[in-house]
Amino acid sequence: MSSKLGKKRLFISPMHLLWAIVFGGLFFAILPAISGHESIRSERVGESLLVQAPAQSGAPNAVTAVVVWFRGLDTLGEVSVLFLVAAALGMILGRGKNSTEPESKPNEIVAHAKTLVLPHFMLTGLYITIHGHLTPGGGFQGGVMAAGMALLLILAGDRVKHLHALHFLEGLVGSLYALVAISGIWFAGSFLGNLIPIKTEAFGTLFSAGIIPVLYIFIGIKVGTEIISIYDNFQRREEA
């Protein structure tokens, strides 16, 4: 096989073909198990949670109710994963000097458009975060939008100047989240319990879902700061 042609071929070695056969076989082995919708429970756990969501959590968006509250421990863990990775990147990329050339000058259009786009980005992110229990949005989406804003600024040549403030906010919001969750044990019956009464009569309004919007704002800030710090670590790496 000529080397020029060989490089473009998918099956360079017989091992590749062997793996392809293995995974092809797996496909037909697994496929019957994942099609079909009958479950042994007559009503799946998620469907039961959907029924209970309006009365117990006060949130019209059942996904939010599940994410932030019914399975809030998963979400606390997930926020910790982001925190973990931001810390790990700081550790791994923060050491040693790097000889990569600084990137070329930022794009003219990006540099000028940033002031135009920024306020809209921020406002949309904020709206999405605080309306997480009413609309298909929430802290993750809003936080990522805020982080997208930071990415835009980085592309436009700006840099995170107050790293300490960023890390302070990161730690503060994370610990507030954990503290609110822990205080639920004594003040609301269970971990992540509802410290703020739910207003069932005001179903579907902003101040109706008890603690969910508060937690989602924490999640939003946390996700935003973590992703900014992840970007920032990679960016510093390239320029150091």
């Binding site: 082995a29 697994i30 019957p32 198990a33 994942i34 079909g36 919708h37 009958e38 479950s39 042994i40 429970r41 007559s42 009503e43 799946r44 756990v45 998620g46 469907e47 039961s48 949670l49 029924v51 209970q52 117990q56 509250w69 019914f70 399975r71 809030g72 421990l73 998963d74 606390l76 863990g77 997930e78 910790s80 994963v81 925190f83 973990l84 990775v85 810390a87 790990a88 700081g90 550790m91 791994i92 923060g94 050491r95 040693g96 890390h167 302070f168 730690g171 994370g174 610990s175 989240y177 954990a178 503290l179 969750a181 822990i182 044990i185 269970s190 971990f191 992540l192 319990g193």
Partner: protein, 488 residues
Amino acid sequence: MHPVLFIAVPLLAAFLAGPLSQIARKGWLPSIILVIAAIAAGSMLPSVLVQPINETVVIAAPLGINLYAGPAAILLILVTSIFGILLTGSKELRDHFEKSTPSTVLALLHFAGIFGIFLSGDLFNIFVFLEIAALSAYAMTAFSDTTASLEGAIKYLLAGSIASIFLLIGIAVIYLHTGTLNLAELSSTMPMVPAAAKAVIISAILLALAIETELFPLNLWVPDVYEGSGSALSGLFSAMTIKATLYLLFRVITLFGVDQSIIDLLIGAGLLTMIVGELGALRQTNAVRMLAYSSVAQAGLIVAGFFAGAHSAAIVAMIAHSAVKAGLFLIIALAGLSGSVASLTGIGLKNKFVGVTATVLILSLLGLPPFIGFAGKLLILQGLNSSVGIGAVILVLVASLVEAWYLLKLVSLIWKTESTVEFSFKPIHTVILILPLILVIAGGVYPKAILSLTDKVANDLVDIQSYRTNVLGGSATIESTDLNGGTQ
């Protein structure tokens, strides 16, 4: 005492790691958190042995996440945190913690993940905690920033990511067919899952857990990770991380009630792992790598023993292995050596206490009386004899002969006269070695005390009915609630 605090307090400490490490200086923060966890677990243990605690998070069990603090979980939290303290308190790790806050954060989150694996009663929640523990372990492997440690971290990450993909596939198929993620409820619904789907579930989950528990042939990455991460971290992984994944394997497989053929497969994989591990250790010249292979072999023995019916013995072996490996890795870390086996020459003559401890721990690892390892190995052999046959016993004994070959060589090196390297043990640093030493000797002299405890613990792992009652409540019979939908 609320079991959720085992998870929430390390998380909180991790979020506050910056300010807290100003108070707990010199990198002591992770050790302090482990001391708190050990004290809490120790104080909970007597009451949990009588009545396990089931904590509800937000909504009751089949619908929401529950944390089940049974005797097994609490005892293993106690054991892993005690031996974790040894290693996090070692100079090698505290230097890392002192130098940078991120490494403190990683260690604390690792503990939160491990405690979460022990406690959680919900399959997806367990996945999340497994990922926390795994991701922090990948990053911790890269602590020392050498090419070897980066290579180990990348290999660990690749193996772990494949495991998590299989675990997610397994969870998806489980949820599709049963409609629940709660382990207690799954224990009663799994038998009703169609055979084809059940095969996919079991193979996906077994594959994922076999990677995590380092079973042959999915453990090729393990020695690399240990060698790359250095002795103190290897000790931490050996004493804490594998124990959590082993517990998870035992818990999940017991609750799912798999067929005898799968049990036989697991016993076979365990025995094979042991033999391959011991043979691998035989030709190593690096002490950390040698002990890594030995850890793999011990994990294989524990798995084979547990599934052969020697449940209590497997728990004893887990405790013994934690103690021994924490002690041995700590000695290598304290000696501050390059890690090659030859550099350990004469270590016992320099410091008698270290030499005696190392010898006792090694003899216990071999399973010689009068140390704790003897009780564990003997009972596992009995279990293998009665459920598999004499062939398995002979296999284990042959593997033990191989083990004796390299471990006794190590002992003779330790007491050799011509010393080549200068050691600088500070006596204060070696004091902590008394912990594993006492456990190994006391457990060997009074095995009855340990066995009466582990019998209850093992019973907690295998008694599915009482697990269900504790988690889902005694009044409702499970079958009827399952089939009528869980809306009450």
